[in-house]
């Protein structure tokens, strides 16, 4: 029978189907971090059970870590306590732990692919909704709750109803200045923040075939923002080239065996999806959000829609614009901004820093802007230095911080103050996401860079021409 890519990977991991209930799904790779795992470890302790397969779980500290002076003791006692708990739990159960200061430390969804933990055809979970990132490699990857983290620790399985399947095609070639982030924000703006709830997405079409692995990770990362549990892209030569030789990828004969499996991972020609959507690359321009969920995005040259044109109820829409202190019909271009954040599991990879640097090169950071440049991992940080990007950034008045989730969710000190407006390459513009009262405009690294040097919302294409 014809199968989708998703069916092939899901079905091969079903240990058991529970009658009138979920599937028992075997998990190949489990990532844990300090925020959503402590209660799960406490849970197995209280039940008097251990970790079933410690070599399938990988711990890294990222959500709650400082991005300066990581060599010093963590100041916030609650954060320090969580980091210690992660280390203690990992050590106690024989789980690898890349804590603060470890050379492999970084954001869980950045380091997983960097070290080959992420592989095609795998099931990958983590107590973090942006686990969908790993779908870029043809894995089924999605975020889980802490009860499920406990299930994976205890039994390497979770119980999940099989989601419906959606294919999103984007055909043609992307316009000048349009990045993977724009593609994702465009799709989410069309589907709304709940348009793919209940579905698992496959991204297909020329745009994704042409896209780098970093770009595919950005797109899959944002799948959850349209409500989808995850999104995936069929592995191809680019995928295999990326993962080959990484620390945790198979070697020698094991590689050949794995390749034999991975090469079967594509959607059969006549396989059926529950929903299929097609967009044209030529319709996409650099995007920016104007509201308080990622679905409230538009082309940067457009004006903020009127309530009557919104898919949300009028009260919800007006509450959102009221929070942002924006008006219906406003131009986005020219809005003065206060902060720029480049980083996160969405846009904290080397390609993102290359794009950002490309625009700021030969220009100066605007005086009214506070910029936080936070690499996704030490590996990304090292590449920024090796490629000479840091010299250019320094020359332009920018400083590089140390890796972590940082201002994406502002659990550490990287908080945007109340009322201030930030252009952020992260994934959520919810009320207070970047600090109580903060206002967020989600955008690509190019849009962030253009805002950083001009101090206002600016079309990056204007700066790329000169």
């Amino acid at each position: 029978m014809s199968k989708t890519l998703f069916d092939k990977v899901w079905d091969s991991h079903v240990v058991k189907h529970v009658e009138d209930g979920p599937d028992v799904l075997l998990i190949d790779r489990h990532m844990v971090h300090e925020v959503t795992s402590p209660v799960a470890f406490l849970g197995i302790k209280n039940r008097g059970i251990g970790v079933m397969y410690p070599n399938k779980t990988f711990a890294t500290a990222d959500h709650n870590t400082p991005t300066i002076n990581q060599h010093l003791p963590v100041q916030d006692p609650l954060s320090a306590n969580q980091l210690e708990a992660l280390e203690r739990n990992a050590n106690e159960h024989g789980i690898s732990h890349w804590g603060l200061g470890h050379e492999k430390n970084g954001i869980v969804h950045v380091v997983g692919p960097e070290y080959g933990i992420t592989q095609p055809g795998a099931t990958i979970v983590c107590g973090d909704s942006h686990t969908s990132t790993h779908g870029a490699f043809g894995a089924i990857a999605f975020g889980i709750g802490t009860s499920e983290v406990e299930m994976v620790l205890a039994t390497q399985c979770i119980m999940q109803p099989k989601p419906k399947k959606m294919r999103i095609n984007v055909e043609g070639e992307l316009n000048f200045g349009v990045t993977p982030k724009d593609v994702a924000l465009y799709i989410i703006s069309k589907l709304t923040t709940s348009g793919a709830t209940g579905y698992f997405a496959e991204y297909a079409g020329q745009v994704f075939r042409d896209m780098s692995m970093e770009g595919r990770m950005t797109v899959c990362n944002l799948s959850i923002e349209m409500g989808a549990r995850g999104g995936m892209i069929a592995p191809d030569e680019k995928t295999f080239e990326y993962i080959k030789g990484r620390e945790h990828t198979p070697k020698g004969e094991a590689w050949d065996n794995a390749m034999a499996y991975w090469e079967t991972l594509y959607t059969d020609e006549d396989a059926k999806f529950d929903k299929e959507l097609t967009f044209q690359a030529s319709d996409i321009e650099p995007m920016i959000t104007y509201g308080t969920n990622p679905g409230m995005g538009l082309g940067i040259t457009k004006n903020i829609p009127f309530a009557a044109d919104s898919s949300d109820g009028e009260a919800t829409y007006k509450k959102s614009l009221g929070y942002m202190n924006f008006n219906e019909g406003d131009d986005m271009i020219g809005k003065p901004i206060d902060f720029v954040f480049i980083g996160s599991c969405t846009n904290g990879r080397i390609e993102d820093f290359r794009a950002f640097t490309n625009i700021v090169k030969g220009r100066k950071k605007a005086d009214n802007v506070t910029a936080w440049l936070v690499p996704g991992s030490h590996k990304v940080e090292a590449a920024i230095k090796e490629e000479g990007l840091l010299d250019i950034l320094t020359e332009s008045g920018f400083e590089l911080r140390e890796p972590g989730c940082s201002a994406c969710l502002a659990m550490n000190d990287d908080k945007v103050p109340a009322g201030k407006l930030a252009v952020s390459t992260s994934n959520r513009n919810f009320e207070g996401r970047q600090g109580p009262g903060s206002r967020t405009l989600l955008a690509s690294p190019l849009v962030a860079a253009a805002a950083a040097v001009t101090g206002k919302v600016t079309d990056p294409r204007e700066l790329m021409k000169s």
């Binding site: 039940r47 909704s129 686990t131 709750g145 009860s147 709830t197 009260a315």
Partner: protein
């Protein structure tokens, strides 16, 4: 770890007719620093509920003495965003045992079911009726009947809701998934031994 059994809940309800209530509103990230599951109810809807100086915002529904109860009725697409189970814990710890909405985000819904909070999805029309009934009389008692899979208003109007048989059994008996999974460890081991990765 078994949780409270859920059969028939008859309670007044707290209305929150806002759409796309995300988990950052339910519990902001800066309150996720605990290593134990306790006290999250104090920070439920923290930034909608309290001013910067920690004084209560009078116009927020949880600070309105007219409304109370074990049922929270939310707008469409309730619980979107982060996978933080802390959001479901906060709802539970505050004292809610059921959330009614016309649409739930996936992960939040799953998290609720895993900790013993019943997510009940009703039609938009019925949600509107519930909001209207509470607005007309905040002492309105809503019956959530899990065995019959029905939500009943005092007027007698009712609507049925979906839940799979397995999860229904868990809720009725206070079982959880780990109880189930640990009982099939040998089967999992055998399956794992043949998995390609």
């Amino acid at each position: 770890m078994a949780y409270d059994k859920f059969e028939i809940l008859k309670s007044t309800a707290v209305p929150l007719p806002i759409e796309n209530v995300d988990t950052d509103q339910i519990i902001p990230a800066r309150f996720l620093k605990a290593t134990e599951r306790k006290g999250f109810g104090d920070n439920l809807f923290r930034d909608w509920r309290y001013n910067n100086d920690d004084s209560p915002k009078e116009d927020f529904v949880l600070n309105n003495p007219k409304y109370s109860g074990k049922i929270l009725v939310g707008g469409k697409n309730f619980g979107s965003g982060s996978s933080r189970e802390h959001a479901a814990w906060a709802v539970y710890d505050y004292g809610f045992r059921c959330v009614i909405s016309s649409f739930f985000a996936d992960i939040f819904k799953g998290n609720c079911l895993n900790i013993g909070v019943l997510p009940v999805q009703v039609s938009e029309e019925f949600a509107t009726k519930i909001f209207a009934a509470i607005e007309a009389d905040p002492s309105t008692e809503i019956e959530v009947n899990l065995p019959k899979q029905k939500v009943v208003l005092p007027s007698g109007e009712s609507e049925s809701f979906d839940i799979n048989g397995y999860k229904k059994g868990n809720m009725l008996n206070g079982f959880d998934d780990i109880d189930y999974l640990t009982s099939m460890k040998e089967e999992i081991k055998a399956f794992e031994a043949n998995s390609p990765l």
